[in-house]
Amino acid sequence: MIVGRVRVEPPVMNASGVVAASAAGALKVEGAGAGAVVTKTFTLRPRRGNKAPMVVPYLGGLINSVGLANPGIGGIREYVEEYRRLGGSLPIIVSIGGETPEEFGELAIAATDAGADAVELNMSCPNVSWTASWEDIASIVKESVAAAKAAGIPVWVKLGFGKGLLREVKAAVDSGADAVVLINTLPAMLIDVWAMKPVLGGVTGGLSGPPIRPIAVKAVWDAYREFGDSIDIVGVGGVDGWEAAAEFILAGAKAVQVGAALSVVGLDVIREIADGLLSYSKKVGRPLEELVGAVHRGLP
């Protein structure tokens, strides 16, 4: 499948920030049968992230307050080069998190110079202060995509669920982004009632896994209904098996990313999803490409 100008075969990747924080993690994702790897989000400056506990299992999913722990812009080249040196052969999607459109531009150039196949602009992390302070995300999407496109490689935009989602997808379409990645974690928190204290080290965090799947499927369905084939969609949120992946494809996604399930179920879930999608497509007698958005067309 060609997704956002990148060949992703099978159409299953890890979600940013899960397992592939280093080249070693990326190789595990490749070994598990993914069609591309997505790096942890790189910011301009190094970030230590929040204190532990920063990931708490919850209802078959996770709540995390990692807070974009990463080595900063300098780590991008090291990551991509080490991945290639160790024999990694998949397309590599470098996730970047700028505080401003200019920072997105700078990070996109670093990713391009390092040999990335695409950049994924993380516009939606609930665990950092700057995204919360953005008043008009759509216009920031527009400017950031424009800045990142100057680097020359495909630009994917990762958005979070919210009232303005379709406006933000439209901004991505209008500014010529190659794909939107829907959705990031949902803002969440857990309280221990005996201690009467927040459970997470970062106090609040982001919910992922099966509890958010119906919301993510709806986001993909909405975006496909509104924009059809004018932009590729990558579905992410609670994919923990092939049925969930098939739901996203039928709703309009060309590929899926898997986050929480890599920890909750294990890395093998990637191969299970890839194989399951293939048998599903055989069983229903249509290639996956034809199934993208099929729910809107009322197949069969």
Partner: protein
């Protein structure tokens, strides 16, 4: 098989599968002082069933979580051995029965030992030996600490049928010297070893076991900074190796650790 049966088989897979790692709270049932260390018996909200040397993230609500080897302690129970060195471990050591703490686990993989494998545990990793003893593994064990009082207190926690040799740097133990000295001198002789301890100890053991020709059958329990303990964040890479501690470890084949240990 009919198409319908095949379809049913495909869809039959349980929709929500059992999580590998759980988040639970627990109540402290008992605290014992073991030669200056604190053994906490915890009644957990749901069973964790750890297999050694799996670990968990443990914390007092509101404080930072720290990784701790989980000692199996029967249904719905685990134990941890706390060395009070930082704020969380001091708070854990000060806990009394009836107090609540939080756990995430079990993290990493269990490693079933082939009979006859010697478990050599030193420093704060002596818990690994206790976890194996609690799971029914009979040894042989080598428990190495700096002070004899600690080793002798720990010795009493093993079932009397276990073969346990103690090594310390002052008198009173079975062997006078470090864990590495003890292996070199043959205080525990085996065809395979599981070594748990600080990095210099692992480095020393690596060299001795290589000379002995038993590197290929041996493992080390590695300690690196653990941020989430769930296998999600991927931030626990063991430097110089392709391993993530919470996914592949904490026990790793010694032969793969040369670069990490800095031995050529």
């Amino acid at each position: 098989m009919s198409v319908l049966l095949e379809l049913k088989r495909l869809v039959e897979r349980p929709y929500h599968r059992h999580s590998r790692v759980l988040s639970v709270g627990g109540w402290v049932e008992r605290v014992d002082n073991v030669g200056g260390l604190y053994l906490l018996q915890i009644l957990t909200d749901s069973p964790l069933s750890p297999e050694p040397p799996q670990f968990g993230m443990v914390w007092v609500p509101g404080m930072e979580a720290v990784p701790m080897t989980l000692i199996p302690a029967g249904e719905d129970r685990v134990a941890i051995l706390v060395r009070p060195v930082g704020s969380t471990t001091n708070a854990l050591a000060a806990m009394r029965p009836g107090k609540r703490l939080m756990l995430i686990g079990p993290s990493g993989k269990g490693l079933r030992l082939r009979p006859g494998t010697a478990v050599v545990a030193g420093g704060s990793a002596t818990t690994v030996a206790l976890a194996y003893a609690a799971s029914g593994y009979r040894g042989p064990y080598l428990v190495a600490t700096r002070r004899a009082s600690e080793a002798l207190a720990l010795r009493r926690l093993f079932p009397s049928s276990n073969e346990v040799v103690t090594a310390c740097e002052d008198s009173g133990c079975d062997f006078l010297g470090t864990a590495v000295d003890a292996i070199r001198e043959g205080a525990v002789d085996a065809g395979a070893y599981l070594i748990a301890g600080p990095k210099p100890m692992l480095r020393g053991a690596y060299t001795v076991l290589r000379e002995r020709g038993v590197l290929e059958t041996s493992y080390a329990v590695v300690e690196v900074e653990v941020r989430c303990g769930t296998g999600a964040c991927g931030l626990c890479r063991v430097p110089g190796t392709p391993y993530l501690l919470c996914v592949d470890g904490p026990a790793l084949p010694l032969t793969d650790l040369a670069a990490y240990l800095g031995v050529s």
